[in-house]
């Protein structure tokens, strides 16, 4: 696997502006934000779009009516400054432990190393590891490894589901998705993804609130786990 950041390759399937605004505004759940971050890591075009969205956040912040703070607060804060250790610009490349180099850095807080992750067999040719258990606010994120030629069940989406390809590729009715590409599925989309390459397809699947969740993971779990 080559990871989401293949030099020289830019993704062709991008998230909608609605998703990018949600990411920049901080209104998406952590799972969806993780999926967006993985795409952004390999997409200069969407990083430029996000810079504009962050700038909108800055302009809206400046336009808010100031809420007075007690005079003490600045004094309190100044008193804390000596204890606050400045952060230095990190070195351009940090040390990557052997064996970790193929795990995208964005995934490391969730899974450590991909190779050592607790992969569960979900179905013939499909393994998964949960990155983000359901939070109270909702949403989830899982990694799937799909063997070449494996077709997932045909399914629709009650909520919002994002799939980001990390390596390998898959094809569905809407196109072919390779490393860095995002497939954005909502309740207007039904599709049947097939891992179409010669190598295993590694992808992250994230959803929003659990009440809305009837997407790919749900359909996968029902026939194979819920028997």
């Amino acid at each position: 696997m080559t990871g989401a950041c293949k030099t020289g390759h830019h993704p062709k399937h991008h998230p909608s502006d609605a998703l990018l605004v949600g990411y920049g505004a901080g209104s998406l759940g952590e799972g969806l934000s993780l999926a967006l971050a993985l795409h952004l890591a390999s997409c200069p075009e969407c990083r430029a779009a996000l810079a504009d969205i962050d700038a909108v956040g800055g302009a809206l912040l400046e336009a808010l009516p100031p809420e007075p703070l007690e005079r003490l607060t600045l004094a309190d804060t100044l008193a804390c400054l000596d204890a606050a250790r400045p952060e230095r610009r990190p070195p351009s490349r940090h040390f990557v432990p052997p064996g970790e180099s193929r795990t995208p850095s964005l995934l490391r807080p969730y899974v450590g190393s991909l190779a050592a992750a607790p992969w569960q067999r979900l179905a013939p040719g499909v393994r998964r590891v949960e990155l983000l258990p359901r939070t109270p606010r909702g949403g989830s994120a899982q990694l799937l490894r799909i063997a070449p030629g494996t077709a997932l069940p045909h399914h629709g989406h009650g909520g919002l589901e994002l799939t980001v390809v990390l390596s390998g590729s898959f094809t569905d009715e809407l196109g072919r998705y390779v490393a860095g590409d995002v497939a954005e599925a909502d309740d207007e989309v039904r599709h049947q993804p097939i891992a179409d390459g010669h190598e295993e397809c590694l992808c992250l699947i994230a959803t929003d609130a659990p009440l809305r969740f009837t997407g790919l993971m749900g359909r996968l779990m029902q026939p194979f786990i819920g028997l």
Binding site: L20, A37, A48, G58, L61, E62, L106, R137, D187
Partner: protein, 200 residues
Amino acid sequence: MRGLAPLSSPSMTERDPLEPTDEMSRALLAVATVRDRAAFARLFAHFAPRVKSYMLKLGAPPQRAKDLAQDTMLAVWRKAELFDPAKAEAATWVFTIARNLRIDALRRERHPEVSDDALAEHEDDRPRADALLDGAQRAKRLRGALSDLTPEQAQVVHLSFFADLAHPVIAERLNLPLGTVKSRLRLAMGKIRKALGDEP
């Protein structure tokens, strides 16, 4: 959640927003380079009351909002060296810090972000738009574009930033088809990109 409290009109502000912004960038650089406390006091006076306002809008109780404003300003002090005026306005940078602290504190979640370190692995071959328009011009055009949004477009932008609502939830709250909310956000961002000269 203060969700659908009456939405202010999209028009931004009466005062000229450019001057304080430039001054704020200079103050941030003074903190970064010489740990200038007087510059920090100016940053505090400008941003802390606005960050408190942001936290209140997003549902933090007053004491919590004050603490988060203070935490944001402490992070500004600690991270000042990471501020790059070629990449963002001071307000943009402070916004991202406040946003991340808010997600961490009020939602107990992280906001996964691409580090500059990860980006070093692959070169960005797209010319930066900032190279074409200077900071003050960008700031002025951005505020112009925001005040040009239709009320419907401004509403979905405000709900995204100030009500912690993702677009499917906005659609439910406003009783609109999901596609309508998505297209309003797309049109809003199209106007902003056009104003900034960032259209692909």
